[in-house]
Symmetry: C2
Subunit: 182 residues, 2 copies
Amino acid sequence: MKEIPLAKVFHLIEPGPVVLLTTARKGHANMMTMSWHMMMEFVPPLIACVVSPANYSYKALRTTKECVIAIPGIDLASKVVDIGNCSGPDVNKFEVFGLTAVRAKKVAAPLVAECIANLECKVVDTRMANKYALFVLEVVKAWTDPKRKERRTFHANGDGTFVVDGRTLDLKKKMVKWAEFL
Amino acid sequence: MKEIPLAKVFHLIEPGPVVLLTTARKGHANMMTMSWHMMMEFVPPLIACVVSPANYSYKALRTTKECVIAIPGIDLASKVVDIGNCSGPDVNKFEVFGLTAVRAKKVAAPLVAECIANLECKVVDTRMANKYALFVLEVVKAWTDPKRKERRTFHANGDGTFVVDGRTLDLKKKMVKWAEFL
C-alpha cells in the first residue's frame, strides 16, 4: 500500500461512501459497516462518525481510542452488508469474510488489504459520545492501493439498497474558491 | 410538494449527496453549497453539519437557529457549484441562479422549489460550533417533489469533480438487522 498525504484525505470521505471501521481490543480485531460519517477539517484531517453503543465497536473505540476507516470498492458490497449484519464478539470477521488484516503504522486496529484506501485514526474528542454516540477522529496516516483497478465506491440508502458511483462530472473550471486544496 | 414522514429522512442524507443550505436573516434569504454533513439519529432525525465561520451562512445559522437542507438533482449541478463560489451579502442567489424560494412551514429559511427534497431544520446543539463549526440540526418537517423525474443526486470529491449516482444495488434480502426501519 502507498501512503497518501494527509491533506488529500478529505477527497476520500467527502463523497460519502459506505466504509468499514476496524478496531482492536484485548487482541481481538473487529470491524463494522458505517455510513454516518463526515469530514470536519482539512488538515489535520478530522472525521466525525456515529457509532452506536449497540455496536460492539463502540466499547473498543471508547477504550482504545483508535480505529481504521477502510473504504471498500463496489466489488466488496455483498461482504460489507454481511459485516453490518453480524456482531463482533461471536465472530472473527476477517476470517469469516476472507479479508486480510494488515498491521497499521500508528494504531493497533488493522488495515483491510482488500479496500481502496485505509485511514489510521485516533479518537481526539468524545464530548458528544454519551449524548449522540458521536466521535471525532483525527487521521494520522493514510494509505491507498494504487494497483487496485476497481475504484468505484457505493453509498447506502439505508433501506438495503446502495447507489454505485456512476460517471464523474468535471466542474473544476468553476472551482475558484477551493483552488488551494486541489 | 408532498410531505415525507420524518422517520424516512435518513434515506435522503445517508448516501452523502451534495446539498444546499438555506437561511434567512433580517429579511435576507441566502444559500450555500455543503458536503460536510451526516445523519446522527433516525427519529427525531438529527443531522450534523460543518458550516465554517468563513461562510456568510454561519452567522445566520448561529443567530436564527434555523435552516433548510435542500437536495438538488444532477440537473442543478452547475448552479450548485456556482452557488458555492459566491458569497451571500453581495448577491441574491435565488434571483441570480433562477431558483424559486418557497415559504417553509416551521422555519423562516426558504425551501428551494427546484430540489428533489427539502428538510426544515432547527439548530438544537451548538456545543461544538466554536471549536469545530459543527451544528446539530433537528429536522422538523420534510418535503419532496413527487413529480420530479430526475432523482439522481451527486457527490463531491472536493477537487471540483463530482460523482453522479449510478445504478442501484438491491441487497435488501441481506438486511436483517435494520428491517424495522425499511
